[in-house]
């Protein structure tokens, strides 16, 4: 359903994506991992055409876009493509001047031209789905980070996209708020929504990924099932990258602190 062929993108002289090939089937959950600066975020932004690739080809749900052939893309074409993708940002990017519900239905009203009452009904359904029915009339500033991110998910879902992109959706959250966001994402994966998620949450990746992609220096260095990447990857860099997460998880943080206090 989503085909990416030899996608390239540079910022100035820095080549951020150096030829990405990717096939995603409908209903699949693809997790993108890799060190900071490996190009995860740029890849997602290119898939949504928030960044225009320098060259390569994208095909989503029957719409094919070729880049780097000299012709400038028409705004109308970009808009049509973007409507088939939903994006959840690391720093939510909710519209601060609109309530949670208004955020969710903004696209329905402005882009899809729904009438207000239908949009409201749909918006309330979506807020209920992410567990925020009671928060419809709150402004983003009145919500916790986890709630803001869930409103962001509902806003992206409202457009009924063919694929939902998550750009490190929990990286900016306090640890205790991460769970509520991941729960909503798991639910979406279970319902058969097509998801592409850049994340550092390895347990989440293990649990929901149909496929894991390891990116490094603008290339897909390794890919496979979660079992393959987390268990049997022969790629040295993958093992190195993942070992840092295991080490972090095994740190006996609490007892050490108690000990330090005792010796004071």
């Amino acid at each position: 359903m989503l085909n990416v062929t030899q996608l390239r993108k540079s910022f100035g002289r820095t080549e951020v994506l150096r030829g990405i090939d990717l096939r995603v089937a409908k209903g699949e959950t693809t997790i993108v991992i890799g060190p900071s600066g490996s190009g995860k975020s740029t890849l997602l932004n290119c898939l949504n055409l928030l960044e225009i690739p320098d060259s390569g080809e994208l095909e989503l749900d029957g719409q094919r876009m070729k880049f780097g052939d000299g012709g400038k893309k028409r705004t109308r074409e970009l808009i049509g493509y973007r409507q088939k993708t939903g994006m959840v940002f690391q720093s939510h990017q909710l519209f601060p001047h609109r309530t949670a519900l208004e955020n969710v239905i903004e696209g329905l009203i402005v882009v899809k031209r729904w009438n207000r009452s239908d949009a409201r009904r749909r918006g309330e359904e979506l807020l209920a789905k992410v567990g925020l029915r009671e928060f419809a009339d709150r402004y983003p500033a009145q919500l916790s980070g986890g709630q803001q991110q869930r409103v962001g998910i509902a806003r992206a879902l409202a457009m009924d996209p063919a694929v939902l992109l998550f750009d490190e959706p929990t990286s900016a959250l306090d640890p205790e708020l991460v769970g509520e966001v991941l729960r909503v994402m798991k639910e979406l994966a279970r319902e058969g929504m097509t998801l592409i998620v850049a994340t550092h949450e390895m347990n989440f990746a293990r649990e929901v990924a149909d496929r894991v992609i390891f990116m490094e220096k603008g290339l897909i260095a390794d890919e496979g099932t979660a079992a393959h990447i987390f268990g049997a990857s022969r790629n040295e860099r993958v093992r190195q990258f993942l070992s840092r997460f295991d080490a972090a998880a095994e740190l006996p943080s609490v007892p050490v602190r108690v000990q330090v206090q005792a010796t004071l």
Binding site: T75, Q83, M87, R98, E106, G107, V110, V111, A141
Partner: protein
């Protein structure tokens, strides 16, 4: 007396806001044929005293056959100057909003114009209320230059009466009192507006 000062300020500011928005948007455009004229306009207008601009229109233009009555002259001069200043305020507030807000709008499939109208301008408007309010108060006082091109505005009337009664101290203090009174009312109005549009940020 107030018969000129108040309409002068209101009409000039309203017109200035409209032009300022267009100049600001042109100034933010990636297209050089929009951006460069906008920057040029701001450069010229901001770099020359408004009193000189006013005299060019009122005393200079007749030399090339364009004679305008005093009231429109002052409106034009104030609008031209104020549009440049306000456009800089608008340009900077629009620029100060996070890029992510544009991205969020685009990600929903909005057109650039829709993002501007629904996402960017409402937020920019709120941020620019204090500096624009400030600007309006400044404009209100600057309108006293009208007296120098023969318009009997608040200051102009004070000048006339002072000249005929030989009481300049008294008359100019009365005029200053009027200006202060109205500026105080404007300040209160600005705070009300700030409150009204500030309700979404805690």
């Amino acid at each position: 007396m107030l018969k000129y000062t108040i309409p002068l300020s209101l009409v000039s500011f309203a017109l200035a806001l409209i032009f300022a928005l267009l100049i600001a948007l042109a100034g933010l455009s990636p297209r050089p044929y929009l951006r460069l004229p906008s920057r040029f306009y701001v450069w010229i207008v901001r770099g020359t005293p408004i009193l000189v601009q006013l005299f060019i229109i009122f005393y200079g233009l007749p030399n090339v056959g364009i004679v305008l009555p005093a009231f429109p002259t002052v409106v034009i001069a104030l609008t031209v100057a104020e549009a440049a200043y306000c456009s800089e305020i608008m340009r900077s507030t629009i620029k100060s909003l996070p890029q992510g807000q544009w991205k969020a709008g685009y990600s929903l499939g909005m057109s650039p114009f829709q993002v501007l109208r629904r996402v960017i301008l409402p937020q920019a408007a709120r941020i620019s209320i204090p500096p624009l309010g400030n600007q309006f108060i400044g404009l209100f006082k600057t309108s006293s230059l009208a007296a120098l091109v023969t318009l009997p505005d608040l200051f102009g009337v004070a000048k006339q009466i002072a000249a005929s009664t030989f009481e300049p101290m008294l008359l100019y203090i009365i005029a200053a009192g009027y200006y202060l009174l109205i500026c105080s009312a404007l300040t209160v109005g600005q705070h009300r507006l700030e409150k009204k549009f500030g309700n979404y940020s805690l």
